[in-house]
């Protein structure tokens, strides 16, 4: 009997894997095998490494191809486990007896979190929540509007520096800076958007990336105002009606502010999606020419998405500045934009629960696995490649809403 593609052992796959292992060993030969001892001018041949690479390459490639074949075989077939799970989820969700207690428990855990865990955990969770807001904001631009934006950290910086500068020069309070940060990011979004949004796709990505870097470099070099690479420090944490909260209290307050902000963001994004504006953005993402022929002003829609998304980065930036009490240009580099983009892509473009999950995975896993900090980028890359191949819609793909219309006479 001819072995099927989905069988574990397959001669063809073994051959491919062998070739792969050979290729890998050739490519890595110079760095992994040859080592020059510069003192004695001798070459050390590390054949052990070669064996390791061949074995790893062979297994890695075999598993990769096996998974690919399995995926191909499964295409079209329905996944029973997944269907049962999602069916169960739907039933539990629509059952008020289950829904209410679960919701209450979730609210309770969120509210009590700072008191049952350490300050360190609360602080990390707050960071994760900031990234949730960033992810949801970028989702308005990418997921809804379909505009590939690689300079999102710049708008984060606008928010953070708004608070930092306003405090330094005018002693402005956090609560006044918060809306101002959003407003400035919104205006900056409009300002950048007007020239930039004439471009599409790859070109837009490159130009937004450049704008992000320009802002960072300005912050870095405009020493007299922004403090240059040292940034601005000793920014006060959020206050609470003038009550002195001590460190613990203000960290908890920051956490609650972020929880509230996440809730508001989710409500706003959901309502936006399910509205005339949201539909227009989605149509624009699908087909610009057709959208324009349907009466949608493309430029206005793009600007709306861009500026609204930027506004959330501004809000998040103000909280970030208050949380870390220090801003430096380095915190808003390209890497930051890429991380937020990864959160959106990994979680699932357009999917709110997906982005929540994505942000938590990224920030919390990154924080607790500081031991592997050296390999962080390597793991990022690997995870993204695997995701793109096996789950291109993200961890929790977007579910399309269905409209119901009452039929006449029925």
């Amino acid at each position: 009997m001819k072995p099927l593609n989905k069988d574990l052992f397959n001669m063809k796959r073994l051959k491919v894997s062998l070739a792969m292992a050979f290729w890998l060993s050739v490519v890595t030969f110079p760095i992994m095998v040859i080592k020059i001892n510069t003192i004695n001018d001798t070459v050390i041949w590390r054949w052990g490494n070669l064996a390791l690479i061949v074995i790893l390459g062979l297994f890695g490639s075999y598993i990769w191809n096996y998974a690919l074949d399995r995926m191909k075989e499964r295409k079209g077939e329905s996944n029973r486990l997944k269907e049962t799970l999602s069916g169960l989820y739907q039933r539990l969700r629509s059952n008020p007896k289950v829904k209410k207690p679960v919701l209450a428990a979730v609210v309770l855990v969120i509210a009590a979190f700072p008191f049952i865990t350490s300050m360190y955990s609360t602080s990390i969770l707050t960071t994760a929540l900031i990234y949730v807001v960033l992810g949801l904001g970028l989702n308005i631009i990418i997921g809804l509007g379909g505009l590939l934006h690689l300079g999102y950290a710049a708008f984060f910086a606008v928010g953070a520096y708004t608070y930092a500068l306003l405090y330094q020069y005018f002693q402005i309070d956090f609560w006044i800076a918060l809306p101002l940060g959003g407003l400035f990011a919104f205006l900056f979004g409009l300002l950048v958007g007007i020239p930039v949004l004439r471009l599409r796709g790859d070109y837009l990505a490159i130009v937004t990336l450049a704008f992000g870097e320009i802002l960072r470099i300005i912050l870095n070099n405009w020493g007299p105002v922004t403090g240059g690479p040292d940034g601005i420090s000793r920014i006060p944490r959020p206050s609470f009606f003038g009550i002195d909260l001590k460190l613990q209290g203000s960290i908890n307050l920051t956490y609650y502010i972020m929880v509230l902000m996440v809730v508001i963001t989710i409500i706003v994004v959901r309502r936006l999606e399910d509205s005339r504006i949201g539909r227009a953005l989605e149509a624009m993402k699908e087909d610009e020419v057709a959208a324009e022929a349907m009466g949608i002003d493309i430029m206005k829609s793009k600007l709306t998405a861009f500026a609204l998304g930027s506004m959330w980065a501004g809000f998040a930036g103000v909280v970030m500045a208050a949380k870390t009490t220090k801003v430096t240009p380095d915190s808003f580099g390209l890497m930051e934009s890429v991380i937020v983009l990864c959160i959106v892509v990994l979680g699932g473009m357009g999917s709110i629960p997906g982005i929540l999950l994505g942000a938590f995975i990224f920030k919390i896993v990154m924080e607790y696995f500081r031991v592997f900090a050296m390999y962080r980028m390597l793991i990022f890359g690997a995870v993204l490649v695997i995701m793109m191949v096996f789950k291109p819609d993200g961890l929790i793909p977007k579910i399309r809403r269905k409209y119901t219309v009452e039929k006449e006479g029925a």
Binding site: R276, D287, A293, G295
Partner: protein
């Protein structure tokens, strides 16, 4: 009757290529007219000029919505022209593939709604009412076109003929007085074409529409049109009733080529 669409000396150049050359024509209210011509004659370019996708090199395009004043629409953006009441479909179907059928039609209502960002976020009573209304209206349009069974299907999953009809439904949702159909019967079988002919006639009568269509299917063109315009190499070479066009020597030559005496 007034001319709802009046085109004067329209010329469209792409670099050195003249796609539409000095075309003048007018469409009367309530008519069904066709624009025909061999492939590459400039029919779609003409449509694109009228609907604002291209800004014509020369010439004037005037529209006159029933009961309103005549206005010039050259150089207006497509969305502004749609707002003024020109609905169109595309030759190569351009539906919003990953949106549902109902949503596609709801998009068409865009220019007839008012909710802005704040309205969407605050979701006040007027926005709620508008959202309810748009859903209802869109569903009624689907009923008219006969697509309600697909209402919650993704547009890309629809059979070909239904996708073509959805394009018309979407264009209707913009509340047009003039409907521009670019090859609505392309790829349809004879049965579907017959259904389409009936649909277009019904729409003209019930919605008081004027219909301007580009088509290669001569059975459809000849049975529907009151007036036919023929273009070849960008120029208007003939116009008249179906019978006149059938007899016209220049049209026959454009379609079949010249007979060379050996």
């Amino acid at each position: 009757m007034a001319a709802v669409l009046d085109v004067q000396n329209l010329t469209m150049d792409f670099g050195g290529l003249r796609a539409v050359n000095d075309v003048s024509l007018s469409v009367q209210e309530g008519q069904i007219v066709s624009l025909i011509g061999p492939n590459g004659a400039g029919k779609t370019t003409f449509f694109n000029c009228v609907t604002g996708v291209y800004n014509p090199t020369r010439g004037a395009i005037h529209i006159c919505p029933p009961g309103k004043k005549q206005q010039k629409i050259n150089g207006m953006k497509p969305n502004r022209i749609t707002e003024r009441g020109l609905g169109r479909t595309f030759q190569n179907i351009r539906l919003f593939q990953n949106m549902t059928v109902l949503e596609n039609v709801m998009i068409g209502r865009h220019s007839r709604l008012n909710a802005g960002i704040l309205g969407a976020i605050l979701r006040g009573p007027s926005t709620k009412k508008e959202e309810y209304q748009v859903k209802e209206d869109s569903y009624r349009i689907l009923e008219k076109i006969g697509l309600t069974v697909f209402a919650n299907e993704l547009a890309k999953n629809l059979p070909y003929g239904a996708q073509r009809r959805l394009e018309i439904a979407r264009a209707l949702a913009t509340d047009p007085f003039l409907l521009l159909l670019d090859e609505p019967a392309a790829g349809m079988n004879p049965q579907e074409t017959q259904d389409l002919i009936r649909l277009i006639l019904t729409l003209r009568d019930t919605e008081q529409l004027t219909v301007f269509l580009i088509e290669h299917d001569m059975s459809l063109v000849m049975s529907l049109s009151e007036n036919i315009f023929v273009v070849d190499y960008g120029s208007l070479i003939a116009q008249g009733s179906p019978d006149e066009i059938k007899q016209n020597q220049r049209v026959i030559k454009a379609y079949l080529g010249e007979v060379v005496d050996a």
